[in-house]
Amino acid sequence: MNEFLFWVCLCAYLVGTILYVLYIFIQRKKLSLMGLVFLAFGFSCQSVYFILEYLEAGHFPIVNFQQSLSFFAWAIVGCYFLLQSKYNLRVLGSFVAPLAVVLMISSSLFPLSALPYKPTYRSVWLPAHVITVFLGNGIFAVAFVVSVMYLLQENTIKKKTLGFFFRRLPPLDRLDALNYGCLVIGFPLLSLGMITGSIYAQIGLGSYWRWDPMEVWSLITWFMYAALLHQRLTVGWQGRRAAIMSIVAFLVLLFTFLVAGTWMKGYHTYAIPEGLR
């Protein structure tokens, strides 16, 4: 049942993405609406999937890499819904949805096997840590996408080519505002995620901070976003520079999640089948 739900969700995201990508070419409102419906359906399936996983495992079910990837996708789609309802930027979906699909597909490449149970999984700090971190990640993923859109739009205006993207993408001002909005929401979430994480580490492993690669890289990511926020607030950074910084910071975040969390040795390291390491 769980596995079936997972695949239904993946397919729904895939169809939604195709519709959204078609929307950017053909520009029919109906396509984006249908895309939204499919994403929403996939999102609900995935939510049910996590609940079932929780009931089956008896603890918060995001403990291995496969689950994290799929939870990341879930968080991105969820953040997109929140922002869509507030800003109503349909074309954003055309950029966000592919990201969620890529994550889901990579998640599907890993076996759906359960890990050996550890008693610390029952701690309330595990969901607190994972949920805050991934909501932050989801918001930053949207910020990343918005920044890419900003650079594309800015490029058409600067180069005076005004081609394909000029008409399809929203005004620079709105993109920048959205980027800033994401930063303002995402940064506290990331900070909270790190605090709850260290509390969880204290409970589970007996110390708040152990210079584990994941911890170190998370700290670097945190500093990058802190710097961006600082520059925006004090110097009034906006536009191109802020967009580039946001992209770089997200790439570091991805590195933290994908590389530091898997290929580098540490207690955070997700269990990955030997063959993949």
Partner: protein
């Protein structure tokens, strides 16, 4: 019975001729009244804008009606009728339908894709409805025309890009700032072009306007018109940190804004973007400024090339629009054909026969006692007879011309609606 369209547009008649019609119109009301008084005319509609005059008529005798309409339109003028004919087009049947669809979707407009024409056509239709000049055919035709316009607008990019320099500037400003309502504009030099761009911008809700000019008096005049303020040319650089859009159009030989003038400007602006529109020749604004972050400079040639690209694009999109118009014309023709008597009678009979058969099939298996072939045949022929008798009067009614008081379509349409023939097929 036929749809005819008599009209002239910017292509068929020069502006002097169109002006005459537009200025001393006989009045739409009078025209509609006179046209609908003609015995051969069932329905009519009259559209007059500065670029076109169109008369749409549903008539029994198209040729006669056209002559009548032309003389009504232009009869009492100094040109004789023959002369007017050179500027007119007369379209019949599906040509007329296609033309109307092209007009409503702005494919026939002088500025292709301009949105006003649809509203004007809607007004003309409403006017015609109020004067009870429309019936089955025009009601359907006009609603189709509005639908086609909507389809063309949403399925092609015909109306989505600016095709004049000042519109292109506004479009760019909107893509940079999103909302223009809180923005401040600095106008350098008070030329005609600049004024036009300013007018477009202020229609999009600019918050504040400052005019700088060599002669302060002219600056004051223009500023007062837009309820703005005036400054001298020396104050321009001081204003740069606080304005969002600069439009420059002076006759100066050198740059009015140099690269040096904007050094360190972004820090003072806290990186808020600045859009500089240079419509002067020779140029007023150093193009190198465009390379600086968050500053965008467009000169007249660049705006012009944006417009040219857009015009080309519109032509491409218009091809798609023509295809939609063609499709919809065919659909409308099909519907119009159903209003003919013969297919309606045929459908009516088929429909009744269908019901008869279905009921027989349901009943016969239940009548087990009816064994002989003869008895079954008797039932069959009885049901046939009932159907025939029931349909006899409606069919005769449809067939006889004189019963329709000159409006057979209306009766055919009513028949079709009573028996729901449009749903049956």
């Amino acid at each position: 019975m036929n749809i005819v369209l008599v009209g002239m547009n910017h292509q068929s008649a020069p502006v002097e001729i169109r002006e005459k019609i537009a200025s001393d119109q006989i009045g739409a009301e009078e025209l509609l009244r006179k046209l609908s008084a003609l015995s051969s005319v069932f329905e009519c509609l009259f559209l007059s804008t500065c670029n076109r005059v169109e008369t749409l008529i549903v008539s029994l005798e198209p040729k006669e009606t056209v002559q009548e309409a032309v003389s009504l339109l232009f009869g009492d003028r100094d040109h004789d009728t023959k002369n007017w004919n050179d500027y007119l087009y007369v379209l019949e049947g599906h040509e007329a339908v296609r033309h109307l669809f092209r007009v409503s979707s702005s494919l026939d407009s002088m500025v292709m894709g301009e949105p006003q024409i649809l509203g004007q056509l809607k007004d003309a239709y409403r006017f015609s409805v109020q004067h009870q000049c429309t019936g089955v055919v025009l009601n359907r035709l006009l609603h189709r025309a509005f639908f086609v316009a909507k389809r063309v607008r949403s399925e092609t990019g015909i109306g989505s890009s600016a095709v004049s320099v000042s519109y292109a500037a506004v479009e760019l400003a909107k893509k940079i700032f999103g909302d223009l309502t809180a923005k401040k504009v600095l106008l350098i030099g008070a030329g005609e072009m600049a004024e036009l761009a300013l007018r477009h911008l202020s229609r999009n809700g600019i918050k504040e306007i400052v005019v700088a000019n060599r002669t302060l008096q002219r600056a004051l005049d223009l500023a007062s018109e837009f309820r703005g303020s005036a400054v001298t040319m020396e104050e321009i650089v001081m204003l740069l940190p606080s304005v969002d859009i600069v439009i420059s159009s002076t006759g100066s030989r050198d740059y009015v804004l140099t690269h040096r003038d904007v050094q360190g400007l972004m820090r003072k602006r806290r990186n808020r973007p600045l859009f500089l529109i240079d419509i002067a020749v020779p140029r007023d604004i150093d193009p190198r400024i465009n390379e600086m972050p968050n500053m965008y400079v467009y000169d007249i040639d660049e705006l012009q090339s944006v417009v040219e690209v857009n015009v080309l694009e519109r032509r491409q999109e218009a091809l798609k629009g023509e295809r939609i118009v063609k499709e919809e014309t065919i659909k409308f023709e099909k519907w119009l054909e159903t209003l003919d008597v013969v297919p309606t009678i045929k459908q009516l009979v088929e429909w009744a026969e269908h019901i008869r058969k279905a009921e027989l099939d349901k009943t016969i298996p239940r009548l087990a006692s009816l064994s002989s072939e003869q008895q079954l045949l008797a039932i069959d022929s009885m049901s046939s007879a009932i159907v025939k008798r029931l349909l006899h009067n409606p069919v005769q009614f449809l067939k006889q011309e004189r019963k329709h008081e000159g409006n057979r379509q209306r009766d055919v349409d009513l028949t079709r609606r009573i028996f729901a023939l449009n749903d049956y097929e």
